[in-house]
Symmetry: C2
Subunit: 284 residues, 2 copies
């Protein structure tokens, strides 16, 4: 049976409800999103529903995590479609605030995680993680969840949020959920919508090169430079690939680049396919 | 009757206790301090005890709010004396963590309030408010208070914390309590301990000049430059005054400098008496 989720647009209303639920002893699972939900989000929602009495998702395209030159304006939005998905997935509450509700006049407080945001996407998307940690801190304080679910597609984001929660002694349990792929390997992302048919084919370069590197690793290759070189050559063979922004092999906890690859390390990359920036990663 | 406060050194223990108290429906009042308690702290404690079921104070000299050139090492400490005061004041819990407990290895998350920290003490004590907001965020998350008490002696700190709580949607009510003075006008501060007998006399320059400016204001003077000039001349007449760091007349909410003084504005100043940096303020 489907279920109509309650849509909440005001912070105080969301706070009131979450406090009431906690008083009643209910556990709250939380899935923060920027909307335009796909199978990746659905897998987070399903995790949350399984592990908690109540599931809240937020839909908020957070301008503070986009740089001026990024795709804020064209970021895909379709609230009715999202709501339909929430209905089918039996989400209890959808928190859907406006910009003005989240960032009223004179807003000026930010949360920053310093070390973990220095490389990978943090090195290229200036201010991105500052926007992410700030909005997630706000959402955690508003929704008051026991468990919050993040996809490992954004592996760095997941580790940064986990660090923030630990460093600031917050009570939320940050759960990292597996990256979800299309059948052909493409990591799910709302940004895949930007891709033309031809670009969609070249977008496979990310996952294919990751699978290939993992294969090389399994066969004994440990040299990071060699692995990166093999990946890079494979990727640049795809016609619509415009630029490899980075390929890094990092420690899964510190996110610091390795020279010699070890089991458990993360290979992460960002590639421009046409004008679309795509990311992907795999654990060795 | 005196009461032995419970001393807690571990974060998890403090969290467990505060969560239990909240579950029992008890309200928690919180007074964060750096110890070396004086009448100013006592007035905060008394406020908290009056307005809450349970009062928690923290004693933690937070290195992150001291610049490398500041007085961290010589900052006065006397835990037994502080505990005796807590006993007399009937504090319920004293949270007294170590540095390692608050900032374990790899700690790297900070809270920053951007606009309100730009002038007054923020302009001179680089990184100070970043340290303050970060530790207060941690303490709030650990102690989980309904009400938190701050002295208006540190007026900028009070406004910065209030802003942080509002911007990040925290549930704490931030209460500003009146600045407490010695009979002769000197604002109470743990740092007054640094003053020699002669310096103690010159330390009166801060309060005397504030009272004088308020008097001039009452008599019609509105020009900020004139008021600052009068104050400055008065202060520099005291022999042990080494330097006026700043005298500002600011809006009580934005803390932005005014050109024309109005009722409600704050006059704030920082003065070096000998090697000791003292601050004080008054509301017009």
């Amino acid at each position: 049976m489907e279920k109509n989720p309650v849509v909440i647009t005001e912070i105080n209303e969301m706070k009131k409800i979450s406090r009431k639920l906690k008083k009643e002893g209910k556990s709250i699972g939380f899935v923060p999103t920027m909307g335009y939900l796909h199978e990746g989000h659905k897998s987070l929602i399903r995790c949350s529903i399984k592990e908690n009495d109540i599931t809240v998702i937020s839909i908020f395209v957070n301008p503070k995590q986009f740089s001026p030159n990024e795709d804020l304006d064209k970021y895909p939005r379709d609230f009715e479609r999202d709501l339909e998905i929430c209905r089918k997935e039996k989400v209890d509450y959808v928190f859907y605030p406006t910009f003005e509700e989240m960032y009223p006049e004179n807003f000026q407080t930010y949360v920053i995680v310093e070390e973990l945001t220095k490389n990978l996407c943090g090195a290229y998307r200036k201010g991105h993680f500052k926007g992410v940690t700030t909005v997630v801190m706000k959402l955690f304080n508003i929704v008051n969840p026991d468990n919050a679910y993040f996809g490992k597609k954004d592996y760095q984001q997941y580790k940064v949020i986990q660090r923030m929660v630990k460093d600031l002694n917050m009570d939320v349990n940050v759960v990292g959920c597996p990256l979800i792929r299309e059948k052909d390997g493409l990591a799910l992302s709302s940004r895949n919508k930007y891709l033309s048919e031809e670009e969609r084919k070249s977008a496979l370069s990310l996952s294919k090169s990751l699978f290939y590197a993992k294969e090389l690793f399994k066969n004994g290759e440990r040299n990071v430079e060699n692995l990166k070189k093999e990946m890079s050559e494979m990727i640049l063979n795809y016609p619509e690939v415009k630029e490899i922004q980075y390929i890094e092999i990092v420690n899964p906890e510190t996110l610091k680049p390795k020279e010699t690859a070890e089991e458990g390390d993360i290979i992460a990359l960002a590639v421009y396919v046409g004008n679309t920036r795509l990311i992907d990663n795999i654990q060795l």
